[in-house]
């Protein structure tokens, strides 16, 4: 694998490992404050909602709404330049709309990130998560219209 490809893969560390373990199993896992129950994202060693509390993990419904989106055009890194223009969406989760995940709107699980016409994307649209297997270790969450 070239360096430029490696740069685009998520960095799995002790904070993020449970998220990607969930993704491999087709589950969207988010951290939760062990004291207050409030969700936490991105993952971290300690809860901001109860100082010193170590978060647990919960599997959420994988449903949300599009909070915003962009359509990048070149200049881009080569892997993405070949797909441009494509979409990147920011999805607010139904369980807590302040938890927002960057992803891509696709027509179907495994579909390319430039398949949906940008004119069809709307803030507020309901979406649900699907997962794309990248390799044995990494699956990425993407989103389809619900």
């Amino acid at each position: 694998m070239s360096v430029s490809e490696a740069v685009l893969l998520p960095q799995i560390d002790e904070d993020s490992a449970p998220f990607f373990e969930g993704a491999r199993r087709g589950e969207l896992r988010i951290q939760q404050c062990s004291a207050t129950g409030r969700l936490i994202f991105p993952p971290r060693p300690f809860s901001p909602w109860s100082p010193g509390a170590e978060p647990t993990w919960t599997t959420v419904s994988g449903r949300g709404t599009i909070w915003s989106y962009v359509v990048p055009h070149p200049p881009l890194l080569p892997q993405f330049a070949a797909l441009a223009p494509y979409n990147v969406v920011l999805v607010a989760l139904d369980e807590d709309p302040t938890i927002r995940l960057i992803g891509n709107l696709v027509r179907r699980a495994g579909g390319p990130i430039n398949e949906v016409d940008p004119s069809e994307i709307e803030i507020g649209s309901a979406v649900r998560v699907v997962f794309e297997r990248i390799d044995d270790e990494i699956s990425l969450p993407r989103w389809v219209l619900a």
Binding site: V7, L8, Q11, W67, P75, V88, I102, N104, I123, L140
Partner: protein, 392 residues
């Protein structure tokens, strides 16, 4: 929001008007300059010391900000500085330009140094783009880059689209920013865009970079260096140039704030500028209503709309409407970025905004605002940020 009374702590007022910028210097700006960043940095610093009439051997304080390739040891050696007794580097790149001024003002007020130099040297025009560097992704980038949210422009475009959705802002409002700042550059011979005018039609026809942002919503890519010299208010009165007093200084990282991808707080459209502004105004005799000219960090046009709100010139969601009727142009309610800013003078991580703030105080700006008693200078919204108010 905390009241000013609860924000003010022991030592409050120590910084206010205690130090002043008495020298400014810069290299030329270009897409490509000869010479290393070190050489450019020292050239700009020597020019600033000459402007102040202060011998380089007197420099004993140095302040810079990250993403700077030159360091204190090399700068001091090349300047012929004496003993350096205060040095600091502030984090978060474009969020930290005014922080270097504020930290030197604090150091001078506290007696840690007497002649402070802040500088920025960057070959962004001929050098590489940071986002294209083949380095391991930082932990936050794990949540964005694999999905193709690669560049700062993509990260800010995400906030912009939401802002437009919530407030009814249109591309015309972003054009108001780009065109106002371009007009400023058209009067400034040092600006890269001095001879290039911009019409609304040209703005609207520009190619997309990251929808909803087009080419002219993006700052320039520039080689250049700038520097400032600070001394105590007492000494400033004896210097060659009229002093630009550092009246107030703020830094800010908002609650649950993230750098650039500030998507995870309660309200991503109320970013670090709001935190910084509360601190700034708590120490300032000037309110937003008193400020007649400002240099607002403009790596991207929408940052101006967010900064107008964060620094209190209008309410949240009103930044776009504020730009109407020429408000940001000479003669308007708040002329901004009067040298052309990052969008049309040079993008040197915001340091040119500081030097232009000083020129407004001296009355030597290419687009002077004669009624201005003070000038606000801000760093980037969307990153841990900083701001100063300079005064006559």
């Amino acid at each position: 929001m905390e009241s000013a009374a609860t924000v003010l702590a022991a030592g409050a007022g120590m910084v206010k008007d205690a130090a002043a910028i008495v020298g400014i210097g810069q290299t030329g700006f270009a897409k490509r300059l000869e010479g290393s960043e070190k050489k450019l940095a020292v050239t700009a610093i020597l020019a600033a010391l000459d402007d102040a009439g202060i011998d380089p051997g007197e420099v004993d304080g140095l302040a810079s900000y990250t993403m700077e390739s030159t360091d204190e040891v090399e700068i001091a050696k090349n300047l012929g500085a004496g003993d350096i007794t205060y040095f600091s580097q502030v984090g978060y790149g474009g969020g930290a330009g005014p922080a270097t001024i504020g930290q030197l003002a604090m150091a001078i007020a506290a007696g840690q140094c007497r002649v402070g130099v802040a500088w920025r040297s960057r070959k962004r025009g001929s050098g590489g783009r940071p986002w294209a560097a083949a380095s391991a992704p930082s932990a936050p980038a794990t949540w964005t880059r694999p999905y193709g949210l690669l560049r700062p422009v993509d990260e800010i475009a995400m906030l912009t689209r939401r802002y437009m959705h919530e407030t009814g802002a249109t591309r015309d409002h972003l054009a108001n920013v780009a065109i106002s700042v371009r007009k400023m550059a058209n009067n400034n011979p040092a600006a890269l865009m001095y001879e290039k005018t911009m019409t609304r039609e040209q703005y609207m026809a520009a190619r997309w970079v990251s929808e909803p942002l087009c080419l002219f919503d993006n700052c320039l890519e520039t080689d250049g260096a700038l520097a400032c010299v600070l001394v105590s208010a007492d000494r400033a009165r004896d210097c060659r140039q009229p002093p630009a007093y550092v009246h107030a200084f703020g830094q800010g990282i908002g609650r649950q704030s993230h750098t650039m991808t500030n998507y995870w707080g309660e309200d991503p459209l109320s970013g670090p500028a709001w935190t910084c502004a509360r601190q700034l105004y708590a120490h300032s005799d000037f309110r937003a209503t008193d400020i007649r000219v400002a240099q607002l960090y403009d790596a991207f046009t929408p940052l101006i709309l967010l900064s107008l709100e964060g620094y209190g010139f209008c309410k949240r969601g009103e930044g776009a409407a504020f730009t109407e009727n020429g408000a940001l142009e000479s003669g308007g309610r708040l002329p901004i970025n009067t040298s052309g800013g990052g969008l049309s003078e040079a993008y040197v991580h915001g340091f040119n905004l500081i030097n232009e703030g000083v020129r407004q105080i001296r009355g030597t700006s290419a687009n002077p605002v004669d009624s201005a008693e003070c000038c606000l200078v801000t760093a980037g919204e969307g990153v841990p940020t900083s701001a100063v108010i300079l005064r006559r």
